[in-house]
Symmetry: C2
Subunit: 488 residues, 2 copies
């Protein structure tokens, strides 16, 4: 960069340097299989490699890229590696990446319509498109009283609807009723719900995580919910929020939306559906059944940044009553007033979310939908589900292992069986197996605990994953299992 007379946004410097960066990133993807999937560095490694303070004088892009290669990439866990099978995927794609570039290029701050009408309007249109692909009921679309909005993450999505629901009930009952408000969900629900309760001042003991077990494949039982609600009402508490999950983080459990939704409706409870991971699959007709009952919901969320080829972050949230959000989250300072907002002619997304500022969030999702098209996206999902089926078959064919819960989407929950049915040993064994396979750097998987059992999770969903990577991953698991069992 120039040292005299800084020109921080010169178009030709941008062109020259950004072309270099494109090649750096394309080369990264070309060589991504050469890195350990899970970073193998020790805590504190980077502080020893970098100076203590920022430079006084500019350095070159080449300096920085050399440091990225030598010092940063060894500390990266490669979520885009084809051998990444941990947690849930976080998809990157050419289209998603191009959308990120364009959004960063325009670099506007779209808090109100006026600050870039295209940003607000494209988001409304694209979420209507996606809502239609998911066959969401029409009252979630922006043509009525509802509409979609892109949040950063599912945590923010559940938080904003919890706040909308909280304030709706407190407007009726008065602010001091806060301590009586009760939230329901299964014990498999993502920890984001508990965090949202904590933020919103819901008393922790009133966040009721109802027990699940293998008899329902870890789905929430409507009977249990009904009973909990009646019990709470009888002690003077106020049920106000139910969160159901389609595709839980531990095991892709699917809560029965229709029965749960009817209970919520009968009790005047806000019903939120978290389909952060599995929502993507519902663009395929054969998987749409898993969100049957969504018509009973007040809000629905899926993360396009997980398994829908849209770079992080992009969490799509739809609500039926946009005013509930706005009443909870709007601000109207003088310095942001403008004709279009004052006349209520427009949507101002600042009132649908926690932060004020927001990027041009819809561009990347728009580009994914246009550059791939529905049919390709359906194939993409089906391919991963088929790879997961294939892995499930490999596990089932090895009598040393068991598949723990029925596979529904692209996650397989399995474990190594403890020799001689010695269950005391089972958890340590699988913990050690997880450590062993992740330490090879060849694959990265993660774990959970179901009914006290330590379970391994194999989630297919990285854009570069092919059958050969699943085959190779299974080989690593078998080899490390053999080594562990042999050393017992």
């Amino acid at each position: 960069m120039e040292s005299k007379g800084l020109q921080p946004m010169d178009s030709e410097q941008l062109r020259e340097n950004a072309h270099k960066m494109v090649d750096f990133i394309a080369d990264y993807y070309k060589s991504i299989e050469n890195f350990p999937v899970l970073s193998q560095v020790e805590p504190g490694y980077l502080r020893e490699l970098l100076p203590d303070s920022a430079p006084n004088q500019p350095e070159t892009l080449q300096n920085v890229l050399d440091d990225v290669q030598a010092k940063i990439l060894p500390g990266v866990t490669h979520w885009q590696s084809p051998s990444y099978f941990a947690y849930y995927p976080s998809n990157s794609s050419v289209a998603g990446f191009l959308g990120e570039m364009l959004s960063a290029g325009i670099n506007m701050v779209g808090f109100s319509w006026i600050t870039s009408p295209a940003a607000t309007e494209l988001e409304m249109i694209v979420l209507d498109w996606l809502g239609k692909l998911l066959k969401l009921p029409e009252d979630f679309l922006s043509t009525g009283q509802g509409g979609g909005v892109i949040q950063g993450t599912a945590s923010e999505a559940v938080l904003v609807v919890l706040l909308a629901a909280r304030d709706r009930v407190l407007r009726k009952l008065g602010k001091n009723a806060l301590e009586k408000l009760v939230v329901y969900a299964s014990d498999q629900t993502h920890s984001a719900l508990q965090k949202a309760c904590q933020i919103g001042g819901i008393h922790p003991e009133n966040c009721k995580l109802l027990k699940t077990d293998s008899s329902t494949n870890y789905a929430l039982s409507p009977n249990l919910l009904s009973k909990a609600i009646s019990d709470d009402i009888s002690t003077g508490l106020v049920p106000f929020f139910l969160c159901a999950t389609v595709g839980t983080t531990s095991s892709t459990a699917v809560d029965p939306l229709l029965s749960l939704g009817k209970i919520a409706k009968n009790n005047g409870i806000w019903f939120h559906v978290d389909a952060a991971y599995a929502g993507s699959a519902c663009i395929c007709p054969e998987y749409r059944c898993y969100i049957d009952g969504v018509e009973e919901a007040d809000s629905f969320n899926m993360n396009a940044h997980k398994w829908f080829l849209t770079n992080f972050d992009c969490s799509a949230l739809w609500v039926k009553d946009r005013n509930a959000l706005i009443q909870s989250l709007s601000t109207n300072p003088e310095f942001l007033k403008n004709k279009a907002s004052q006349a209520k002619m427009v949507v101002d997304y600042k009132d649908w979310q926690i932060p004020l500022g927001r990027r041009f969030r819809s561009l990347k999702l728009w580009m994914v939908l246009r550059l791939y098209g529905l049919e390709n996206l359906q194939c993409y999902i089906r391919n991963h589900i088929n790879l997961a089926k294939y892995f499930e078959g490999l596990v089932a064919a090895d009598s040393r292992f068991e598949v723990v819960t029925p596979r529904v989407f692209s996650l397989v929950c399995f474990r190594l069986l403890p020799p001689n049915n010695n269950e005391d040993h089972g958890n340590n064994l699988n913990h050690d197996l997880l450590d062993a396979v992740n330490s090879t750097g060849k694959i990265f998987i993660s774990h959970t605990v179901l009914s006290g059992k330590y379970i391994l999770r194999f989630a297919v969903g990285a854009p570069l994953t092919e059958e050969r990577h699943v085959t190779a991953a299974w080989k690593v698991l078998q080899d490390e299992a053999s080594a562990l069992l042999g050393s017992l």
Copy 2:
């Protein structure tokens, strides 16, 4: 894109298409002065131009780029235009843009250290670098009990520290004390504070926005604060949070940190300093005095995405007691447990913020600091402040106008004086002038209201702005003022 066998992350397709996108964006910057700065479209314009649903089959990148040019850019308000003087700036730069590209390329989700150690560690290091440039007290650096974290926006920064402060006092007093908690700030404080109070369940009447006026240049009076605190204590309320601002949104007022901080400390109140805009200037020794007293603060925030060449979003927050944040915001679900976290050997930034997931947030700030260096960054700030001084001089030299508050940084607050001192007419006149100049498309400025007077704000800070743009902007203002005054 390919229609058969989708390869969504093929490195050569990425290379080819991303090079095209680089040229598109570089061309945008080359031609940016040709666009109206403020978009002139009508609400709903885009829905008429785009189809009702996503395509079944893929479209080409050229299709999409043609639509961006023809349909999206007319609806963009060009925050990067050199004639953008509204609100506060939102800087893009070559370095910031490259950092965004790299972050989107790696596309990892850094909620815990293990999910990419480099992401957490680089963020700690870079916020130490920036903290040192700002000469923040050492207890804000990550080497002790404090440290920095990148939030999305200043709204999220004030929210997380408010929650930390709230929960710290509720742990002592019990959850039912919530209704007694009181927050203090001046009436010039950003609306984000009120929104944070609303989210956190602080009763609206306990969010006390103390009155300011021109006698203190709209800074908060320590005497007023002391009195408010004693009054509230005497009625059984519990003061727990004070937000001071360095560079308010309306007029860059600077609250007196040292005196306010001492009052906060004496009353056991969490003291947060919001320097979202003006913090950037404090890397220059001659402006550092405006944050003198920050040593009394519990938390300090500045937005690198405003006036520090780091693309949106990047809001730097430092706290002295990281455990207060963690106690309020941590979750520890089984599926995220890992050795490094369980052994408390590492920082997991998920526990310092609202969302779980997070991008590789520090890369762009690291690249800005390295590719520009401190001296260039100081020159950059000084140049904008000089341009604002120049504009202030132009206004002062035209007797039809007045400068309303003393200019401190790069914002000039001014207005057209109503003819014959007819103050009744002054607000409409300036409102009409704002409309008139923004409708030309040649410049974009915004407004505020101070002591009942409608004021125009001219904020210098876009990376491409040069003296000639300020000169031209003043010409537009003079011409439109002449037309308005002539038509009276």
